[in-house]
Subunit: 247 residues, 6 copies
């Protein structure tokens, strides 16, 4: 890795300061206020006994996610999607991504006929909102599952969580691969990639996009290496947040 | 006032613990995270130089507000209004109330041709979300106006804020008038009233509704007295939050 | 009361000419075309045996209301809300107000598992449309309840209507409290208040708003006195309209 | 014509009682409350000087129409289209029909760059709402044009109305061609036709639909004859309503 | 018929070249890609065993149709109705017309409790899209019914199709009645008529509109004669397309 | 590569039969009907001189794309998004993907202030609709750019197309990496990846998702190798379709 120093003083392979306030919401069955630097996302998990009608009787649970941004989470205010009367493409796409990421580490048979809805609301946005959302959502999800177990909606010996999951962005800025892009870096990135990795180091999603010049296999590999290392760090932070003495 | 003690130990004329985290958002021109007990509302004020087309050239500013609730701010999850594709009646009504309350203390001529949009997003709801929103929105508004003055969008000698404004709920529960109802009190109230009062003690809004039995003039007067006293306390808390050493 | 004479020659405490054409619609179970001066509202009550699914089996009825304005009820044509694809905040707010006002005088247990939907469509608007709507809606409601009793959907000895209800606007114009504001008065009012009062003289709703300068307790009391007197007159007009020889 | 007598005592070639209350609305530039028996439609014409942007500078006017039904105009209450958030196919289709019918008798060059919007709101429906709407709309349109002339938005010597227009339904019920179907006849009709005819007897629209068995040329001709005669009567009623001593 | 020759060389009573590619879609139970000259419409028929809830248990089937146009079917691109969030009046009107035309030749008792949804998507538009849609939809419908019979959802001896149906446009251009108008003719037509005729020569729909000057009975008769002859030709083309060796 | 044979007889690294009917639409400035086996997508490119307001005066062009599926493109009929009144998340996501893929090979400065809208409508779906759409859209785009050059909206010497672009799906089925998945393979894939590659072999998008078990780096590399080879074949087919003698 080069000697480059970033605007906020980080090295190319550094995450921004990460904080997770587990149990931020008094009402949700699981919740976490997560920060990736200036990006702050409130993740809540709502547990319901039962599943949507189309899934009833199959002995399987259901997990879904919704992502949204407060109108003034960004530098300029955006109109509310509720006011516009429809949800934009970016919002839909990220909601779907978060849902897939979480479902990848859940054994829905073990979850039983229960539904968990994850809401990720971006309170402040400074790049990497979807990756912060996935990382925080895992913590909220884990607590909601424990809540369901304590309430006996989930069998005592069932282990619905088969792995953990976190996500991070990587990108090439001025020819340099960087981990966990802040907004000012993100807008300048030639290539931008979001990578979702399980606690055991397997890929769940790899979404790379050439914003500027298309990229080659060597660049792709460099980015993936950074992302895998970053997600290993995030996994450790999640583990610490979920440690019993945290509660 | 009677000997009654409430579920949370308050006397009938007590506010819940009120906290205001001024400047919570790094991006908005003014912001405040306000708590009325378990109710937490993030208020941001977005300042734009210029006014909507229909107001252009009249030498006056414009202030508007939008209120919304995160899906899991409440005990049960509510569907997002952006997903439903339309805004409910309650949301509209409260947004309009907040806007009127703020405009009542602003001299739009002194504001000049500037627009301030206030967003009040309820992160956690435990009764009194609209009154917390108004009270916090005033703090965000005051900071946004100072920002506009610092940027010279507002004339140095202009005083757009002609008074302060706060709001509180009052209600009759088991025949007893109570200040600042928590959710468990609100659902049991026979009469429910939201009162918006200026710092100088004048009424901006009086909205009383008989949820159970209709009420008489004597009850109305008792509720108004409680509300005026509560808003005087809120005004002092706002003043403290806006004191220079807070920043 | 002062010597002031209003644009239409009324004294400050006078209602406009009020007319109620009961049974205007041949199809609704109850209906009234009500005029408050130039304001004309067609109120219909639709009776359905049964209640919405979420209320089934609780032994209680349901009453709801919808308010709307024809596009050319006003001086300038407004776009239809059906064409815009969404209902504005004002429409929602008034619909909710009318529903609450009517439910305040109905014993839903006595109504039994029946639903009454009230539609208030403003055919011509000259101020006070919501108060005319509530006053006319009560007449339509009373007839629909009698229809339900005649059809044996409501028990013979049940008395779902526990009181009557009417509403009137009051406001301060040029420092003078006035009853039942016409549109030209309404736009000039410093304070505007809608008051819903039962036949026995209790308050159901008090909604006062400072449009100009905030108001004090003395002004509030003067307005409430005017409103209570006006609603007593409206109650008598409702009673006359509902007298058997009217039919 | 056969000896048949209809449910309401009419002969096959009789119109229902037709009434036109011209100038029913105090606010619109032209208006008429028209009744075809139990069908009552409030038609208003809103005159605006100027045309939509896409028509500006072409020296031509614009006429458009919107049709809607109050929720309880019919025997069972229908949900409001504003509440559903979209306009149904039938509403669209009839709005377009009314607009075409009126434009057929207007010389838009002579109208000048003025816009007239016609609103036809069905207050009570008993068959033939679209034909009543067209017939009443013509009266409202004629008055709006005179208003525009009086205000000098239309040139003194211009004659924007090149003919009058009215409409009537015809249908085959039990093998018998009938004029101006009431609702109970309409639901039983094997063939249903709406015919729009100018004052001079030319066709503007012929819309015939086989609801039951398809029809042949002889039946079509019989229906057209009835319709032409009916529209001639309607033209005379319109002329009487528009006579100066009516105003 | 006159000596006139049209832009594409046709005589006034000529159809454009008509082609029907039966079974174009591998997935639908019936399908046809139909061309009327440059107009190309893909018609699919989707067969479902069962009927909508409101029709259940009545022993009758249900047929409905939806019409839509690809955004670049026309010379200028139109916004998608899915993007606009609502369906235009023209789309609704044509969908309803196609549904009525097909239902006119179906015995829904013989169809049994089965639903057939016809989709008519205009891939390229050059006038007469609704008449091409009806004509092609009949072919798709016939195949879907045979599919339902083969699958034993329809009784072996039942004959749900009681006749065939096709449609064609006619119009008066420069005073001349013409059959099957291409787009360049359609925009110049003084009168435009769509006629739906059964294989046996009965009328299902007659929809004539004066786009320019109103028309008289003689012109109407001339147009109807042309249309009946054109539909007889279309019936023969449909029959050929549905012949067993076509499959 | 293994000996495996797929349901349709292909080897793991084989594309399905690919056909491109360039110029399928007579009206669009560029068009292609592309087939990837049973998947058929109609791609049209609409050229407009000028750009959206927010881009005006920057000397750059704009390219955007919309993807949609006919209701009966699939085995079961889906409701139209225009009827539902909103666009689903999947549709949004794919539209955005296509737009990014095309913009990656366009020099918008060289395009000048022109807008090209690409519509990709799936007429029949059998897996890989988004990759077929991108591959066909490139052909339509290339023709629209040539049209713009011929019309002199694009400078003679400008080369807006800096590379070509195509896309293909790859996935792991039963542990085996396969190229260009048909629908029956897609639903069984453990990992599913869409890869967009330029004619010169650079990546524009890499979107891999673990549908079943997460995947490791070795599997990712195997899939990327297959995709790069498949896109090289698609590039040759595009080149052939765009050869002058094709026109």
């Amino acid at each position: 890795m080069s000697e480059i120093t970033r605007a906020d003083g980080r090295s190319p392979g550094d995450l921004r300061p990460i904080t997770i306030e587990r149990g931020w919401s008094a009402q949700a069955e699981g919740s976490a206020l997560i920060s990736f630097g200036g990006t702050r996302v409130l993740c809540t998990a709502s547990f319901t006994n039962g599943v949507p009608r189309w899934l009833t009787g199959k002995g399987k649970g259901w997990i879904t996610a919704e992502y949204a941004m407060l109108p003034r989470a960004t530098n300029d205010r955006n109109d509310r999607e509720s006011v516009k009367g429809r949800i934009g493409g970016r919002t839909h796409e990220i909601s779907r991504l978060i849902g897939r990421a979480l479902r990848a580490v859940v054994d829905t048979k073990a979850l039983g006929e229960n539904t968990i809805v994850i809401d990720c609301d971006v309170l402040q946005a400074d790049g990497g909102t979807r990756t912060a959302a996935i990382t925080g959502a895992y913590v909220a999800l884990a607590d909601a599952i424990e809540w369901g177990r304590a309430k006996k909606f989930i069998a005592q010996r069932a282990t619905p969580l088969i792995d953990s999951v976190s996500a991070v962005s990587v990108g090439i800025v001025d020819g340099e691969p960087l981990l966990d892009l802040a907004y000012v870096e993100d807008v300048r990135a030639e290539t931008d990639m979001n990578v979702v990795v399980t606690g055991r180091g397997f890929f769940v999603e790899v979404q790379g996009t050439a914003e500027g010049a298309p990229f080659d296999k060597r660049e792709l590999d460099a980015l993936l290496d950074l992302a895998v290392a970053g997600c290993a760090d995030l996994r450790d932070i999640q583990t610490a947040a979920l440690a019993p003495n945290e509660d």
